[in-house]
Assembly symmetry: C2
Homo-oligomer: 214 residues x 2
DNA sequence: AAGTGGTCTAGACCACGCG
DNA sequence: GCGTGGTCTAGACCACTTT
């Protein structure tokens, strides 16, 4: 949809999709939270330009980015490991009873590496998926299309830290530069399945964006 | 409510408050997003411990903190100024036509300064409120109780930065330490009134927390 | 089987923007 | 006055958990 145009009214959308206000409004609220529209009381729902930011803080994950030119490099393909400690959101007891799958990747925008992602999930809740088998290179898309698992929510804890030597190397920064560290847990529609991440972000060019509406 | 207990069922709450499922669920969804409860399909809504984090990323602002012992020091009382430039979320044209009110404060937890807040709002949308007249020292509480203005949403942009000399001094850190910079815009129930902030956070002891659910 | 949360239909009334 | 979004009541059906 073109920026600055208005969507059909909620009542019209009800007709078009044979749904009720409740359902239509729920869908529009998603668009609002993702930053695609703003609602103007008495006028309508206007399509807006999404800002120059990563949009990491929503359930869409990195794929919800404003940027089309996000490139993903797998730096450590999926492998089975033991859990490490020190998560801000610790895995459940059940998850810790089994091993986990770990993979690491680096996200870049226009050639600039912006995020180093360390990702884990429990082998008890989801089979081993090789990074080479990700549909279109996307983990979330693979979960959705092949396993019918949806991301239902996300919890995060955010800190500013100096970059370690290793992270600095991967982000092509000087060691000690200020980076953003995100400890993250995604909750999925599969009750026992959570996805854990420790993400290191270079926010110099591309800050993290977030919006939240009642 | 005690941690790990369950709330009355949604149907029960409907009875207790003479409301419908829709309304009760909307309220519970707020509690979910604020991190006070988790919903367990088929079981109920369980009260959980909120983590050791600031909860800055929701519409509650700093007052949504987990910590009771948040102390606020006004370092620059309200005064009328010209707008400065460089906001991630620029004031609207209408707002920029008039002057603005600026105030600065430092939030501390258990004696440790954790946030330096620079705050602005347009004089065209809200009268000058002296920091000394804040109800219980809270700006949001004053807006709500005295002006019947509610916070409806928040947009943020987050970066990791080295602390400037001035910010370092206020946060009692060494200059150049990694801190978190948040550029923030609160939208209110008063259509023309937005609140703008540039916040500098020391996340070493108290990281920023956020949760998001469909 | 009974109780829970998840989702939906159907319809009402209100507050806001605009002509 | 009319159309818009904001909120609410009333009630149905489904999926999941527990007994």
């Amino acid at each position: 949809m073109a920026v600055d145009t208005y969507l059909p009214s909620e009542h019209e959308l009800c007709g078009q999709f044979s749904a009720t206000r409740t359902t239509v409004r729920k869908a529009l609220d998603e668009l609002l939270r993702e930053g695609y529209i703003v609602k103007e009381h008495g006028r309508g729902s206007r399509v807006v330009e999404r800002g120059r930011s990563l949009g990491l803080l929503t359930v869409k994950g990195f794929s919800g980015s404003t940027h089309q030119a996000v490139d993903t490099q797998v730096t450590q393909p999926s492998e089975v490991r033991e859990w490490v400690r020190g998560f801000a959101f610790p895995p459940t007891d059940q998850e810790q009873k089994s091993t986990c799958v770990f993979f690491q990747r680096v996200r870049s925008i226009l050639g600039t590496p912006v995020v180093v992602e360390n990702n884990w999930y429990s082998t008890s809740a989801l089979e081993f998926i090789h990074t080479a088998d990700f549909i279109d290179g996307s983990f979330f898309k693979t979960l959705r299309q092949k396993y019918h698992v949806e991301i239902m929510g996300v919890e995060q804890q955010i800190r500013a830290e100096p970059a370690s030597a290793e992270v600095a190397r991967m982000l092509k920064l000087a060691p000690g530069q200020a980076i953003l560290f995100i400890s993250i847990r995604f909750k999925t529609s599969k009750p026992d399945l959570n996805l854990y991440g420790s993400w290191y972000c270079n926010t110099k060019e591309y800050p993290i964006g977030s919006s939240y509406f009642r």
